[in-house]
């Protein structure tokens, strides 16, 4: 058990190292233009260029640059943006994190509930028109660009039907902290939650249905039926439980990726000041240190989340040890 744990830990550390090297290479060792010019931003003066070159050590060899960058990101955490008047990058990312967590957490609750319902109903009625209709709806959900769906949702709830009884409660775009105004927090986030969840409801509903239908052929399901258990009990207590394995491991990965910045497009469309929108603003200002920081932090978060999922598996399922 201890050896397995240590092994996973070693792997995680290796992957973290690899990611930091990869991200560093993408930003500072891509063949082409001078990274100094990219960091200093558009139309930088020669003094700024010189300052950037000195600060990041671009006159030194690559490994030194890499170590210096990691130091700025994770140890001293004083990486600063040149475009944005020396704003410290790391605290900015940490300040934006609760917004992203609120968005992704709520969306995750919706997509888990909806996809379990849809997947189970479709599997129970497999072959019927309800099954086909639900799976088709899921496919449509998967096929919609999230930023477009968000804009259509804005059009409906903010403009066209905003004065009807259905959407008059929808506040303007933006974010209110949960601690300051819980009901406002909820009202601001409901539409973004649903929009972000649609894609995942489609994916997870389809995955769960496929797993459930496959489990109907398993021996333990036949045994459960042979014992005389009711169909719904067999489906919910025996089938659903084993079929949730793929579901849960998928969920860990997707949740971590979304918190790490994958919800960027949703945040941009709904004006939520989270990590993703920070990346978007940095993109518009060509603010490379900020983008690199968000990418690096999100990758680290994804790896750590995966390690936690692995750990939980290790504790729950003796076969993986």
């Amino acid at each position: 058990m201890l050896m397995a744990l240590l092994g996973r830990l070693g792997q995680t550390l290796l992957v973290l190292l690899g990611i930091s090297v990869l991200v560093f290479a993408v930003f500072f060792a891509t063949p082409g233009a001078d990274p100094t010019a990219r960091i200093a931003g558009r139309n930088a003066s020669p003094e700024t260029m010189a300052a950037v070159r000195h600060e990041y050590g671009f006159d030194r060899p690559l490994p030194v640059q890499y170590l210096r960058m990691m130091d700025k990101l994770f140890v001293t955490r004083d990486l600063s943006s040149f475009v944005d008047h020396g704003q410290k990058v790391v605290p900015e990312v940490l300040r934006a994190a609760p917004v992203t967590l609120s968005l992704v957490g709520g969306a995750a609750a919706i997509w888990v509930a909806a996809s379990v319902t849809i997947g189970t109903i479709a599997a129970a009625m497999r072959g019927s028109w309800i099954d086909r209709g639900l799976m088709m709806l899921g496919l449509v959900g998967i096929s919609m660009p999230v930023f477009w769906l968000g804009e259509v949702a804005n059009l409906v709830t903010q403009s066209r039907y905003h004065h009807s009884w259905l959407f008059s409660w929808v506040p303007g775009l933006g974010y209110v902290s949960l601690w300051r105004d819980p009901s406002g927090w909820f009202a601001h986030l409901v539409i973004p939650w649903i929009v972000l969840a649609v894609l995942f409801i489609g994916i997870y509903g389809r995955v769960l249905r496929a797993d459930l239908v496959a489990s109907f052929d398993e021996d333990f399901m036949r045994t459960a039926r042979a014992k005389g258990l009711s169909d719904s009990r067999v489906l919910l207590h025996h089938g659903l439980r084993t079929s949730m394995i793929t579901f849960v491991s998928l969920f860990g990965l997707d949740f971590a990726q979304l918190v790490g910045g994958g919800a960027l497009l949703t945040e941009v469309v709904f004006g939520l000041p989270g990590v993703g929108r920070l990346t978007y603003q940095a993109l518009n200002n060509l603010d490379l240190p900020l983008i690199m920081a968000t990418v690096m932090y999100s990758a680290v978060f994804v790896v750590l989340a995966n390690a936690v999922v692995d750990l939980v598996y290790l504790l729950l399922d003796p076969r993986t040890r």
Binding site: W148, Q257, L264, N306
Partner: protein, 355 residues
Amino acid sequence: MSGGGDLLPAGPATGGLAASDAVARGPVAPGPWRVAGQALLRNPSAVTSMAVLLLLVLLSLLAPAYARYVAHTDPFMSDVAATVSLHGEEVPVMQPNHNRLHLGLTPIGPTWNPRADLLGADNQGRDVAARLLYGGRNSLLISFCAAILCIALAAMVGICAGFFGGVTDMLLSRLMDIMWAIPVYLFAISLSIVSVSQGLHLGPVTIRSDSLLLPIVIIALVYVPYAARPVRGRVLSLRRAEFVTAARCLGVPRRRILLRDILPNVSTTLIVLAPLVMALALLAESALSFLSIGVQAPAASWGTLIEDGTGLIYTRPAVAIAPGIAIVVTVLALNILGDGLRDALDVRETSRGRS
């Protein structure tokens, strides 16, 4: 891998059982590809999606003809002083707002008349319908090329990792894990941001920053881990298959096993993956273009069109809604086609259906 597929070393595994059935019935056995093709053609939703895709390609190919002969406009020239003739009278494309001072201009809305801004104009007075067709060219071209490139790279990575195993497998799989840990869109954004301002210079090769190659390469790279994983899994299971063991025992050289036994059997996996990867690539392209780091102005794609329409979403929603519908229809058709191909080529599905 189980069933009759393993008996057919050189050919996609699909046909194994079907072929032996046919042998029992008559002298001519239909080839495995033919069986799969017929299964695909019997699937109404797959046929519909193929027809829709064909129609979309044709429409976008006809973009210059539409712009020149039907709409009579140049969809890449901004012209805020233009007029269109509607019901016999000249109407300005950019109309003054209905506020008291008539400040600001709003582009004309959908007229449903192909000769005069069918879907309205954008905020530079350009015909949205014509731009939609031109945008379709870029979106379809980029996602198609990105899918082909991605599948080719994934095939190389997956086959090398699965077939050679050992250190090769470990290194490649770890590299894929590392790439996979970075959220897809963030990875694409990182690659775009460093290349979009000055282009890429790889030794003698220079990709200009407004070249379509840039989004193609970026999107292809980002989705390699997604496609490489199933390819590697398939190769691993093939390597343990009986016919490969038999070939090895006969002393067939590794190169030949790879080319004659592994590659044809992996090709079905690649074919099934292709439309699914193209669907993802199309969504990624539209997202990157929406964030203005994909297709660069004045060129259009469905993503840049949605971005153009963002500012007009409350006044002229058609500008953003139309390209979105185009994306949904295309991606949906690709996903349905992918499902159809999987059903037609999957050996387990066919053998279960026939037994």
